[in-house]
């Protein structure tokens, strides 16, 4: 992907002004870091940080007015329940859930969050790199009177994450306005406009994701930085976003998830409701459950302080190759090498020792429980 072909988010000029190092990511020019990945990571763990997530795709799925007249009120929910793995019926209006869009083989096209913003009105927030593919897949599988609108180009978004989110939220929206509950989304007035605030994130810290019209992006971004200044806010890039999510073992699409992997192998069966009578990929997942897994995604931690693990490093046990690393880094919170790898399911036991091959040399690691980093609750 060439930089010339990359699109700019509505916050591009702000990133450049702040001295961000810009990189091409999923077809967009995005900040990888401003001052440094470690400092930005720590700002989110200790205070608060703000990320541009305008590159993410945003779809609205709704029942068409004609379907509602003809008695098909549930069209949008019914159809989404066919397309996605989690159960839409469990969502009250104003709530969101993590879910998967699968192909016929049970492989992951995308992982996303779906919010029920009206009875038959849904907001889907999808990965930037998969936006076009998702849309094509959804349109290909239209069978009921449902309308799907890709609003990605006209909308932007930010994630504001960290333990001081409450203070910043009240500074931005007013001291009497309540933070939406975990996984909820609410439309809130901001100046002369309205923004959608969801209590979600990808960092393991308390936080919100805010979606707004692209024309309001700069105003909101700068307001958050201004009000967040006394709280120690930092603008954070993709680098910190990656280390934060990996410490929590949140998967990254394209690295830990792919059309060749299914949610059960990825250890994310919790977000698949096999009790639903039908959804795309269900048959394959049922068979996977029945026959057992071939490979499984496991978190691991290096035994010694040494070189950090990286994607594509080979994994061994007793000299036998058993898998490959999909995500790896030096965890800034632990100051230690951590990662995730797909390995033979037979070896995927918590506490088991594995070897990661780094530049021809093997380094010992231990299979861990999720998450790799747990905040002390003192």
């Amino acid at each position: 992907m060439t930089e010339a072909a990359s699109r700019k988010t509505p916050l591009y000029d702000e990133h450049v002004r702040l001295g961000a190092k810009m990189v091409a990511f999923a077809g967009w020019l995005m900040p990888v870091q401003y001052t440094g990945i470690v400092a930005e990571h720590q700002a989110v763990r200790n205070n608060v940080g703000i990320f541009d997530i305008s590159h993410m795709g945003q779809f609205i799925v709704a029942s068409t007015p004609s379907s509602q007249k003809s008695g098909g009120e549930g069209a949008a929910a019914t159809w989404l329940n066919m397309m996605l793995t989690n159960n839409i019926d469990k969502l009250d209006v104003g709530m969101g859930q993590y879910t998967f869009l699968l192909n016929e083989r049970g492989g992951i096209i995308d992982d996303l969050i779906v919010y029920r913003i009206g009875d038959q009105n849904f907001l889907l927030v999808v990965n930037a790199a998969r936006t076009e593919e998702d849309l094509a897949w959804l349109q290909e599988h239209f069978s009921v009177p449902v309308r799907i609108e890709d609003r990605s180009a006209n909308f932007g978004g930010v994630a504001i994450q960290g333990p001081r989110i409450g203070e910043l939220f009240h500074a931005l929206f007013g001291k009497d306005v309540e933070l939406p509950p975990r996984n909820a989304i609410a439309d809130l007035p901001f100046g002369e406009t309205t923004v959608s605030v969801a209590r979600t994130g990808y960092t393991g810290e308390d936080g919100i994701e805010v979606f707004f019209r692209a024309t309001n992006a700069v105003k909101f971004w700068n307001a958050a930085l201004e009000k967040g200044k006394p709280l120690g806010i930092k603008p954070c890039g993709l680098g910190a976003r990656d280390t934060l999510r990996l410490e929590m073992c949140y998967p990254l699409n394209g690295s830990d998830l792919s059309p060749e992997r299914n949610p059960i192998e990825a250890g994310l069966g919790f977000f698949v409701d096999l009790s639903k009578p039908n959804f795309i990929g269900r048959d394959v997942l049922l068979k996977t459950k029945e026959n057992g897994l071939c490979e499984k995604l496991v978190p691991f931690r290096m035994k010694e302080k040494g070189p950090p693990p990286r994607p594509h490093y080979a994994v061994f046990q007793n000299g036998q190759r058993i898998g490959e690393v999909t995500s790896g880094t030096l965890s800034p919170s632990l100051n230690w090498g951590v990662g995730m790898a797909y390995i033979d399911a037979a070896h995927a036991k918590i506490g088991a020792e594995i070897d990661i091959e780094i530049r021809g040399q093997k380094f010992r690691a231990t299979i861990e429980k999720k998450p790799l980093y747990k905040k002390s609750t003192s």
């Binding site: 190092k21 870091q33 990945i37 470690v38 070189p307 950090p308 800034p332």
Partner: protein, 125 residues
């Protein structure tokens, strides 16, 4: 960007300081800023002989691992052990305490192929 005039440079962003029959080698201020926070350094083996442009060390940031090359043919006679405990020295003092290794040069003439500060400044634009 700091590019001292009394050093030589390579296309691969190493700096070279002549010390008699030896050269001291590190990575430039520009390189450390591009790499971001250095979290691990794999030092060259002592007494290793390397050709010019041969990878001898690895500098790892949070994001990626990058090879460091021998600027000229020579033998490793000193390595900066301090980087094992504090790899961030490369970010904080790229031209000082952040040096990586010292090579005993095989052929002093090879130094003529290195860039001066002006040429390096031009390279990174």
């Amino acid at each position: 960007m700091n590019i001292p005039d009394d050093l030589f440079y390579t296309e691969t962003h190493e700096w070279i300081k002549r010390e008699g029959e030896n050269v001291r080698v590190g990575i430039t201020d520009h390189a450390q800023s591009e790499l971001t926070d250095v979290v691990y350094v794999e030092l060259p083996k002592m007494d290793r002989h390397a050709n010019a442009k041969e990878a001898v060390a690895v500098v790892e940031s949070v994001k990626a691992a990058s090879d460091i090359y021998a600027p000229v043919k020579g033998t490793v006679v000193e390595v900066n052990k301090a980087l094992e405990a504090d790899p961030g020295l490369i970010n904080r003092e790229p031209y000082g305490q952040g040096w990586i290794f010292v090579l005993k040069i095989d052929n002093v003439d090879e130094l003529k192929q290195l860039k001066d500060s002006e040429a390096y400044r031009k390279q990174i634009g």
